[in-house]
């Protein structure tokens, strides 16, 4: 099959976006989007793991028997996560201190596994890697956007503490939009996560409708 | 008499005063009668007359076909103009096979069956045959052939015949009048039925808003033994046989079973009177009492009308309309069916013709359900109308079936009370029809499958036979060769 990298890109970023189309990886999406910075950080960490594990599974796919494929995939994801965890802890410690909390959670994020099953298990190495990469980027963007919305409404800021994640050079990103202590707190509490995701889904639908696309009614889980 | 509580139900505005004091009057013979060949539950009757034939009053027009069916008879003497399809008093407005009879004005009786001398010495079969021959069907609305019900004593141990004089529908007073004016005939009919059924006891249940009827019936009952009049509370739908039985005996009829399964047979009071006529005089069922009422009618009346008379004729006899009617209804306002036109005939099951004003109908555009639960509290069958309607609205008929639509007997209590004016009963009627159609389809598919299998088997047999023949032929041609070889 001829591989269309444009297709892979479009799927990952928009059409088949992990969060907004497949409704996968919901847990980090809810838990880690209390601010745009947090969402971005979680997304980045996931991206690395996804690209690496997609690559590895595609490389080994001919040796993995059907019966044990799930454990093997999970093993690979878990190993990648641990690897990233250890490496960053040792050599990128400043970054680790910010992201460290999120990293073990990636294992149980079902998005990487879903991509392994749906893509990497069937496709060659390079497209798989690209799929992981773009799915990861799409995931990162989604989390950043959700985080931004919740942060603006809930705390009145945007990209607060970005310098901690990206270094002092990015301090300029940190914006205060509302005066201190005026946010609608519920946005950064658990209910806000669900509400923001739901409303953003509607926004995506409206954009899709405008572009003349059909509304996709169900996520990847719908039969 | 000790009564038992019945669940749910409503207390609508009864509006019976307009006709309850009007004695029954006979309709002047109309110029033409349209007698439907199917006026009952079961198989249609088969016409035995043809165009141009002259018939006498009471002569057979259509013969019953099959076990559950009923014949129809000529309400008067006259000429058969046609046997054709005419609109029926059915909401679909569809045609049905009809005998068109032009009265000759003589109203001349034909040969009637002989009276049964002593009905209380007759066998069940004799009485049931007579009732069947006279075309008597339940006049309480269900129009089930009464003879079939008279045989129930043979297979069930019965304790009681319950005469249904509840007449719980608003407006209707025809049963009330029959009980007041013909109490003795009703009681006699009841005793004949009880004899046929082999039940020792007769109870006549009458809603307590009909004191005159209670009085008249009590007087008639006192003349004989074994007949008790039981005033029952005014609570729609007390007239439903299952609920009446529950109110009087405290027993609940299991679903999909008959009241006979718990020892009670229920008949309408007018049915009893018709049976009295059939047995004592051999007279078939050729007319009935119809309440013509509603705010739009100039003067409401109880009319003894020949079967087949035009609804329009009855309304004209009542002085026509006083104002334009919003709805014309066949039967009571709760369970009655809308009339597709006024040019439809009176049938055996037609207890009332109502011309309702807009105000009486009190119709409003439906609003969304607010889940008030009134329908649930009200449903005398313990169903959850709000849930069933939601399923039906979303085309989840199977869920609606699981939720019990098929248990609903369309009493209308839920629709009546619904503050959002949701046409609940309409939903249920649709669902019941659609489910029945699905059922028919499914059975058809089953039949198709058996037919396909049968055909395949047949083809297989033919093929087998052909193969066998070919093999035989081959063997034949081969044998000589081998013969040659051996030779």
């Amino acid at each position: 099959m001829a591989t269309s990298y444009t297709r892979i890109m479009k799927d990952g970023l928009w059409d088949n976006n992990g969060v907004f189309a497949m409704l996968l990886g919901m847990c980090p999406t809810m838990a880690m989007t209390t601010s745009a910075t947090n969402g971005f950080g979680m997304g980045l960490a996931t991206l690395v793991v996804m690209a690496a594990s997609n690559f590895l599974v595609a490389a080994f796919r001919n040796y993995i028997t059907t019966e044990v494929r799930i454990p093997v995939y999970i093993l690979i994801v878990a190993a990648m996560v641990t690897l990233v965890d250890l490496t960053m802890n040792a050599w990128m410690h400043e970054l680790y201190k910010v992201l460290g909390l999120f990293i073990p959670l990636i294992v149980s994020n079902c998005l990487p596994l879903a991509r392994l099953e749906a893509f990497a298990a069937k496709e060659p190495v390079l497209p798989s890697f690209m799929d992981g990469l773009f799915m990861g980027i799409g995931f990162t963007l989604a989390l950043t956007v959700i985080g931004a919305c919740r942060e603006i409404v809930g705390s009145g800021t945007l990209f607060w503490d970005a310098h901690l994640l990206l270094g002092p050079a990015f301090q300029f990103l940190e914006t205060r939009i509302l005066p201190p202590d005026t946010g609608i707190l519920v946005a950064i509490l658990p209910p806000g996560g669900f509400l923001a995701t739901g409303l953003l889904l509607v926004v995506k639908r409206m954009l899709d409708l405008k572009a003349g696309k059909q509304i996709v009614m169900a996520g990847a889980h719908a039969v | 008499m000790k009564l038992f509580p019945v669940r749910g139900g409503i207390h609508p505005d009864y509006r019976k005063d307009a006709t309850s004091e009007k004695p029954i009057v006979a309709l002047p013979m109309p110029a033409v009668l349209h007698i439907l060949l199917q006026q009952h539950i079961g198989a249609s009757a088969e016409a035995v007359v043809s165009e141009g034939q002259h018939v006498k009053k009471g002569e057979l027009l259509g013969r019953a076909q099959g076990a559950v069916s009923a014949p129809v008879h000529a309400p008067t003497s006259g000429l058969i103009k046609a046997v054709t399809r005419c609109p029926a008093p059915h909401p679909s407005g569809l045609d049905q096979l009809t005998v068109v009879l032009e009265p000759d004005g003589k109203d001349e009786w034909g040969d009637l069956l002989p009276p049964i001398k002593d009905p209380f010495a007759a066998t069940t079969d004799e009485i049931a045959l007579r009732v069947a021959a006279c075309g008597i069907v339940g006049l309480g609305g269900a129009t089930f052939p009464s003879s079939v019900k008279l045989n129930l004593g043979k297979i069930h141990k019965l304790e009681m015949l319950l005469l249904n004089g509840a007449e719980c529908e608003p407006y209707l007073t025809c049963d009330d009048r029959v009980m007041r004016e013909f109490a003795d005939e009703v009681v006699d009919g009841a005793r004949i039925m009880a004899h046929a059924l082999g039940t020792p006891k007769i109870v006549i249940g009458i809603e307590s808003n009909k004191p005159a009827a209670i009085k008249a019936m009590t007087a008639a009952a006192e003349k004989v033994t074994g007949v008790v009049v039981a005033p029952v509370p005014v609570q729609y739908p007390m007239g439903s046989e299952r609920h009446l039985v529950q109110a009087i005996t405290g027993r609940e009829t299991p679903i999909r079973k008959l009241t006979a399964d718990i020892g009670v047979v229920v008949h309408n009071v007018a049915t009893a009177r018709a049976i009295h006529h059939a047995v004592r005089f051999g007279r078939p069922l050729i007319n009935r009492v119809v309440t013509v009422g509603g705010g739009a009618v100039a003067e409401g009346k109880n009319i003894e009308a020949p079967i087949g008379a035009d609804v329009q004729d009855l309304i004209r006899f009542c002085g026509g309309l006083r104002e334009s009617a919003h709805r014309f209804v066949n039967g009571g306002p709760m369970m009655g069916q809308p009339l597709p036109s006024l040019n439809v005939p009176v049938i055996k099951g037609m207890s009332g013709i109502l011309a309702l004003t807009k105000k009486e109908a009190n119709e409003h555009a439906p609003q969304p359900c607010i889940r008030c639960g009134s329908c649930v509290t009200t449903c005398p069958c313990g169903l959850v109308p709000v849930e069933m309607a939601a399923f039906i609205r979303n085309d989840k008929l199977d869920m609606a079936a699981r939720s019990g639509v098929q248990d609903c007997f369309s009493c209308g209590s839920c629709s009546w009370i619904c503050p959002s004016h949701i046409p609940l009963v309409h939903y249920f009627n649709y669902a019941k029809g659609a489910l029945a159609a699905q059922d028919r389809d499914a059975r058809k598919i089953d039949r198709t499958k058996t037919l396909v299998e049968a055909r395949n088997a047949r083809l297989e047999k033919v093929a087998e036979a052909k193969r066998a023949a070919a093999a035989a032929r081959k063997a034949k041609t081969a044998t000589p060769e081998s013969d040659k070889a051996s030779a």
Binding site: T66, E67, V68, P71, L75, V223 | Q38, A88, H90, P91, S92, L94, Q96, A365, P366, Q367, P368, C369, A389, I392, R393, D395, L397, D398, S420, I422, P423, H426, Y427, N429, Y430, K432, G433, A434, A436, A437, Q438, R440, D441, A442, K444, I445, R447, T448, K449, L451, V452, E453, A454, R455, R458
Partner: protein
């Protein structure tokens, strides 16, 4: 280090063995869904669904390649049964278009050639050679296979007429409910 690698490998081997055995042990239970689906279809092999016959149609259904509304002769009832079996929600709106019908043979045109009778998979057409044929309305399920084989165009499919017995109230329409 050895311990780490060793214990992990041991766990993996054990789990792999378990899964292998499990798959062996469970493999016998073949998914019977195809047969069940085929049992729901009318079985007249008429091909209106676009598959060679009901068995193929069932296969396509099982693979989620065909909509549950595929079988016109089966009508709504079959579509719903299929939807239930497959655990999907059926969009039955397309089915409204398919009016259940049965075949009629125009007596004046029929030559008695027997072609239609041979075509009918439910033996709904009766008649001897050279004599007028008729359709048994109860048996015909309106598949239409007979229509094209008739040289004189004596066969037409007509919608089954509504009667008082089969009529029922239409679904309430209206604004909000």
């Amino acid at each position: 280090m050895i311990l780490a690698v060793g214990s992990l490998a041991a766990m993996g081997t054990a789990l792999g063995a378990l899964l292998g055995i499990a798959s062996r042990y469970l493999a016998v239970e073949e998914n019977p869904i195809e047969l069940e689906l085929a049992a729901l279809l009318p079985g007249s092999q008429c091909g209106q669904c676009g598959y060679v016959g009901c068995a193929q149609a069932a296969k396509a259904l099982a693979a989620h390649e065909a909509p549950v509304t595929l079988c016109p002769p089966g009508g709504k009832a079959v579509a719903e049964a299929l939807a239930k079996k497959l655990g999907v929600t059926a969009d039955l709106s397309e089915h409204e278009e398919h009016v259940p019908s049965i075949a009629y043979i125009d007596e004046s045109l029929c030559l008695g050639c027997l072609r239609c009778a041979q075509e009918c998979s439910v033996d709904a057409i009766v008649g001897a050679a050279k004599q007028m044929h008729t359709v048994i309305a109860e048996a015909c399920h309106g598949c239409g296979k007979c229509e094209p084989v008739c040289n004189t165009m004596a066969i037409t499919l007509k919608p089954i007429p509504k009667t008082v017995a089969t009529w029922y109230w239409p679904k309430p329409g209206g604004s909000v409910h």
